[in-house]
Each structure stands twice: as C-alpha cells, then as structure tokens.
Symmetry: C2
Subunit: 193 residues, 2 copies
DNA sequence: ATTATAACTGAACGAACGTTCAGTTTCAAT
DNA sequence: ATTGAAACTGAACGTTCGTTCAGTTATAAT
C-alpha cells in the first residue's frame, strides 16, 4: 500500500538516547538519531509513535512513556531460549516502578529484620515495598505495630478480632491487646544478589 | 549569612510535576511551579539543584536524575515509625530500576516455574531479573540449559567440572553431560502481591 | 504500467527556549 | 545599624524549538 517503517527500530534508538542522556531528544537531535534530513519526517514519526503509545505530548512538549524509559526486557518463557543481540529489538520492555508501585506517594521501601515470615518466602535482609493508607484485607501481609513493637505478619480476622499470623512454626499468632497500628500492607518482596 | 532556601521542598514539586507530566518542566513552567517571577530565579535554583545532584544538564537541556524520578521512598528502620504526610518532604526516594538493574541492555525479566529453588526463597510464580553475558561465579544462581532443559540452580564447581545445585531436598545436583548453556545469572527475585 | 498512499525533503514561521546583565530585596552575622 | 552575601526581579538577547506547507520519493496494490 505504501512505505512501511519499523517502529521498534526507532523505539530502540529512543531508548538508547534516553539511557544515555536521561531525557527525551529534541527534533533536531532526532534528525541525526533517526537519520532523517527533514524535521517534518521527525514530526510524522512522532505522530505514529504517539498513536502506538510510545510517547505522549502536552503543550508541544514530548514525554516518553514507560514503554521507552523502562529498563527491563520482558521474556515470556525461558523455554524459547534467550534472545540474541540481533533480535533484541523485538523484545518489549517494562518499567519496574510502574510494575511494582501503584501509589508512588504512599509506597515505602524497607528492609526485613526477623524470620517471622520465612515460610512465606520473606527472609531477613529482603526488601519489601509497603503501601500506606490501605485497609488491609484478610490474608494480606501487613507491617504492624503491636503493643509498641513492629512486625510483619499475615493480617487475619476471627471472632476475637484481628489476628496477626506469622509464617514460621516457631512463632504463634498474636491478638493485639493494648494497641494495633497498621503501617501498611506489603505489596512486593525484593531480594537482590 | 544570607537567604537560605529549602531544596527538598523544590524537589518535591519537581517530583510532583514529573509524575503528572512524565517530563521535566521548562523554565517558564517552573516560574509557576516554584512561584517565582523571574526566570533568573529559576536559573539560580537549577544551579543549586545541579550541585546537589538532583538534576543534570547537557546542551542547555535539563535532565532529571533518578533522585527526582524515583518513585519509592526510602525508610531506614520501621522502628522509627512511618512518616506522616507532613514530614514526607524529608524522605529521599529511590529508583527501583537503577537499584536493581546494573546493565539494562542485558537484563531480562521472567517468571519462575518449578520448585527447585524454594529453599533459597525462590518460589514458583516469582519473578527473577536475569543478567546475560556475565561469567557465573560459584554460589551464583544461574538460569541454565542442561541437556535441552532450562532450569534455575546454584552454579558450583568441583573436580568433575560444573555442578548445578538445586535448593530443594527433593532434587539432586546435576553434572551437565552433553551440553550446558548459561542463560544468565539471577540478579534479583521479585514477588508481587 | 498506473495509481494511491504513506514517508519523506526543504524551507519558512512565530513562539518559546535558556542565558545574561544590572539592579533590588532579603536575611543573618557583626 | 551596618555590612555581606545569597536570592531574587525585570528586561533583553540570540538560539532553538516544534509546526506548517508545498512538493518529491518510495512502496504496494491494482
């Protein structure tokens, strides 16, 4: 029907520029980046990129979406094998923050101390992302202050009220006596090697 | 000695703008953002922000660092209690991608299937970040293709050569017979609730 | 071979950009 | 009260910005 261009090739270049400079390129910079000789070519390409959801615009200003600024490449199944550098252009990327954080303004990162949740795969030294200001539901993992002590536990409820259950046979469930403050609920666990 | 301004208050405004617009504001936009009446005031502020490491500049163009674009607030110890909205300005933020990914161009995300590493806290359904093209060291966790099958194991070496050790008593260590391909080494484990 | 359409060139445009300068205000130390 | 330095105002500047237009080239279907 007409000329067809490879958007993924262009997004790879945008990604590369962003990683290097930490910002979106200007039209003039995109001339050399994409190998165009007319700014109108850039203009047209950006329109296509916007339609495809790679970029956004407001007030004539360009904003890259997380599909460009995301660092981590998605891999469906390992069975298919790891991509070679040649076919890396075909892989989509994801932004870890957008993936893990729902409400940035209410999310905190802290390090786990204690082994009360080891059977749930939360080990001492692990990092957890905690979201504040959410009402915990049963089976949620919460960071809670019970009787002046902070712990990580499963949030459960029974006829005695709130019950905080550890994931470690060494410890027993707690029924808060004097006070209970929920710091937040655990949204993600991260372990870095 | 002179007028002292609160940089953290300004960075909070920058952070807010970036979350909303997905890009850095222009000088004119910063006039209203910071409440200045002269662009020179913006110019001076940016100089201070650059010196403090919050922003970078190249070719007259502004680039926000991950100290601004990072979403997650750092929390030292839970014992100190969770910050209230009023004191949130005092908290520093971190960028999860920068924190977890060393070489973006070589890092892939995939989902764990199988329970060969449960005793190392890696459960089925967990997400791992795998870095390609790194020579594995003993005790590293690797994604490897042994005799046509992909698995996650500890990478070890003994007098018989490479030994792939699971973290599950149900399985035994493997000495690759026909072939061994290292897909990459596991840099991080993520579990999302 | 012709046609239709998308992608591109090249030039022009006003608007917005970031920087600079001289002068003023603000604040803390003396 | 005076001084010194940092923070700011207001205006001006050349540069670069993103957009637009008319025209050309490339590609795929007919």
């Amino acid at each position: 029907m007409s000329k067809a261009i490879n958007l993924q090739q262009k997004t790879a270049l945008l990604r590369q520029f962003f990683r290097l400079e930490g910002r979106a390129p200007s039209y003039t910079e995109m001339l050399t980046l994409f190998g165009y000789r007319s700014k109108n070519a850039v203009h047209g390409l950006l329109a296509r990129l916007q339609q495809a959801g790679y970029i956004r615009k407001n007030r004539g200003k360009l904003a890259l979406t997380t599909r460009i600024t995301g660092m981590v490449k998605l891999l469906g199944a390992v069975q298919a094998g790891f991509p070679s550098p040649a076919e890396e252009e075909l892989v989509d990327t994801i932004n870890l923050e957008e993936f893990l954080v729902r409400r940035p303004e209410a999310t905190y990162m802290l390090t786990v101390s204690g082994d009360s949740m080891v059977d749930a795969g939360i080990h001492p030294g692990d990092i957890i992302l905690v979201e504040k200001g959410v009402t915990p539901q049963p089976h949620d993992i919460v960071v809670a202050q019970v009787d002046d002590e902070w712990t990580i536990k499963y949030f459960e409820q029974d006829n005695q009220g709130v019950r905080l259950v550890p994931a470690n046979a060494k410890y027993k469930a707690i029924h808060p006596k004097r006070s209970l403050t929920i710091g937040g609920i655990v949204r993600a666990v991260i372990r870095k090697y």
